[in-house]
Symmetry: C2
Subunit: 319 residues, 2 copies
Amino acid sequence: MTIPELADRVKSRDRHAIARAITTIENDDQSTGRLLRELASKLGHAYRIGITGPPGAGKSTLTSELTKLLRSNGKTVGIIAVDPTSPFTGGALLGDRIRMQEVSMDEGVYVRSMATRGSLGGLSAKAKDAADILDAAGFDYILFETVGVGQSELDIAKAADTTVVVLVPESGDAVQAMKSGLMEIADFFVVNKSDREGADQAVRALTTILSFRVTHAEDEWIPAVIKTTASKNEGIENMLREIDKHREYLETTGKLALRRKARERERVHELIEDMLRIDFWTPAKSALLETELDRVAHHEKTSFDLAHELISDIKRQVA
Amino acid sequence: MTIPELADRVKSRDRHAIARAITTIENDDQSTGRLLRELASKLGHAYRIGITGPPGAGKSTLTSELTKLLRSNGKTVGIIAVDPTSPFTGGALLGDRIRMQEVSMDEGVYVRSMATRGSLGGLSAKAKDAADILDAAGFDYILFETVGVGQSELDIAKAADTTVVVLVPESGDAVQAMKSGLMEIADFFVVNKSDREGADQAVRALTTILSFRVTHAEDEWIPAVIKTTASKNEGIENMLREIDKHREYLETTGKLALRRKARERERVHELIEDMLRIDFWTPAKSALLETELDRVAHHEKTSFDLAHELISDIKRQVA
């Protein structure tokens, strides 16, 4: 199948074509640019929601339940689950897979797991590319589910129009969220598993912390804190209402366009870094690195010296 | 103070000089290379231990207790705590700071917090540079304390000679560890807070998971699982015994040298990426990016097209 043919089938939401297109962007940097160019005119329809939080917060269940609710409203949903890979499992764990399968049997839903295999530098970029494919395929909503600790993972969450940070009632979770940078990216908070003890205290703690946040402008968005128990399908309507409210805020203030532009800026930066790295590491350069590394290991030179030598070697060649 | 003077004072373990040297590597890329070159001959003495795990596992307390034990054995200890920054706190949380202060009043201990401020790409490299400074200052042990979720954070943990993954007894923690890539980097596991219910089950679960790991060679290291209750100073001797055992294993098999070489290789890669990025983004290029981003936002071109244009512009200039 040619790239334009593949793009056409993606646009008509052919599931096999979507799968193939995402595999293409995962593996083939050459075709990715051409494929996305073919799809560009169809972009911008989908609303992108990032669902993030610490491990064990129940993000998968929440994602599944939100998907069911959106479906019952007649909306189509694409899900990108960024699951760190383990050699023990080869990707997502069985429990999550089963939960995901429930929703993914539905024709109006497309679920794709992406793993942090190999160079993670690229994962954030590739997750956004995959979202573009689902956007061009006409899905109304795209949900990114990603663990919310670690910079690359936060970058994925930030690539959404609305970012939801999921926590659990256990004391200390709010404090850990502050430490791990989740506070800054949350458009609102969900305290999930709120049938557990301490849910109300957790909400109060978060609300208090948020009240310390300096508001710079009158029209500034103030993140809400809502409670859910995803496993019992409780609070999901509330969550969707908050998403809609945030979306309306972004649209009326013109901030949606700014946010999407920032996302593209970030993506260009990522692409440039990938390209520079690939261009740089020729077989000759990699070989030189290996030879000289022994001298670094013996403290005869530093890794800085070696990096400078490798860089200036390139500069000499083009000069 | 000149760079050679600063280096001399670092080598004599002058605390102010160490602080200044780390601030230098955090802020000044030009001086870093020169500083580390002056220190190169003194490198290789310190044994580097990564202490990592999910938020809330008690890594700080464990680090403090291990430090006290090492001190009672007459060893000096440098600690690098990689704390994600929050604008609410401006760095580490008060509780951790107080705990750290307890050990940092000791002349044989040096504690440095490093934040994930700004470009995290550089943090992993900078944490290793800071470790080199502490190594050159003659500390016997360097402990990296870092949250073990997220790729950049795992990279820091991997930069150690021995990597300890800290979990808590709560069910699901082992499963989450599998998902987040912690299993692969652990030289051994600590189930901390093991006075809580479920500690023995957690140890059994981890041991079972580990038994599925395919062993490739006869001399392959098999990670142990040990219990601690750092807050009550229980199990710390056991933990140190396991560190010593792993160190001996690495030394007798020659794997310590390989591991350290791999660390330098990774660092050269990181440095090259930083240099390429800095070289690339001239003011003119950044301005061009901003102009053209609007066309990407309007779906007239893709971020791929724009990235290629920016790259080929560079190639034209040097051609």
